[in-house]
Symmetry: C2
Subunit: 184 residues, 2 copies
Amino acid sequence: MSSSFEEKTIKSEKIFSGKIISLQVDDVELPNGKYSKRELIKHPGAVAVIAITNDGKIVMVEQYRKALERDVVEIPAGKLEKGEEPSLCAKRELEEETGYVCESLDWLISFYTSPGFADELVHLYVARGLEKKEDAAPPDEDEFVTLVELTLEEALEYIEERKIYDAKTAYAVQYLQLQEALKK
Amino acid sequence: MSSSFEEKTIKSEKIFSGKIISLQVDDVELPNGKYSKRELIKHPGAVAVIAITNDGKIVMVEQYRKALERDVVEIPAGKLEKGEEPSLCAKRELEEETGYVCESLDWLISFYTSPGFADELVHLYVARGLEKKEDAAPPDEDEFVTLVELTLEEALEYIEERKIYDAKTAYAVQYLQLQEALKK
C-alpha cells in the first residue's frame, strides 16, 4: 500500500532498553511540513492460542498482571523468543501454561495490539485435538497461572463481569461466538 | 476476583514521562518469594468506534502509523483527554476523523490491548444512524487521515491483504461477521 502520509524521521532518541520492551522518541516531519514527536515502544512480538477442548470449551489461564495490578483471565499467550517461529512458540506456550498438546494448530490472524505507540504484533492460532501431557514443560519461573476452561456462555459471563478484559481474549470469545452462529 | 498470585511492589522507578505514554520499571516480589522486574507502560486509555453506514458498510480511516512505519486502515479511534467521558470522546473522534455524526452510540466492550506491559484500555462503541456533518470538527493538527468505507467482504479482503492489521479493527470486522451470521 502506498504511503501518502509518511512521517519522515528527523531524529530518533533511545530512552530505554529492557528485558521485554524498549522505548524511543522520534522527531518526525509531518506531511504538512510541520514537526511532531512520536513515543514508540518496540516489542519482540507474541503469540496467543484459541485452544478448544474436545467438548467445545475454550482454554484460558488466570494470572496476575502487574501492568493492571489485578488478576485477569486470558487465552494462553507469550512473547516470541529471538528468532522463534510463531507456530512453535504457540505450541510451547500452550504446553507450558496449560499442559495441553494439540493435534492441529492453525494460524487465524495476526494483529498489532496498539498501533498508536507500539509495534507489538500478536499471532493468533486455533488449536484443536487437545490432549493433556503428563510431563508437560513448566511455565517460566516468574510466571504463575491457573487453568480455567470455559463454555461460550461462561466466557461471555466473564466478559460481562470484567474477568476477561483484554483484546486477544475478547477476539477469541467472539471467534467462538461466530463459529457457533455459523453452525446454526 | 481474588488475587492469588499478586506481585508485591518493592520499588518503582519512573523512567520516562511523555505526551502520551510513560514508562516505569517495578521490582516485584513473586508469589514464590523470588524477585523479578516488570517494565510497565502507563497510557491514558482510548476509544474506538465501529461505525456502520445506513447501507451496512463499516467506516475506517487510513493513516500512517510511525510505530509500524506504514499506512494502516483502522476504525476511528483516539486517546482520551484528561477527565473526558469515553462516549463523548468516541463521538468527537468519529466526527473529527470521518466527518460523521451518529444517531445512536452504544458501548460494546472495553479491553486492555497489551496486558503484559501496558495499561491501555480501549472502550469500543457501535455507532449507527450516521450522517455527514457539513462543518465537522477537523482532526488534530498532527493527524492525517483518509476515509475508507468497506463492505464486510472488502474488510475481510483487507485483513487477508494485511491492510487491516490491528486488534480493535480485527475485532470490529469479526463483530460485523457475527452480526451477519446472526441475521441468517
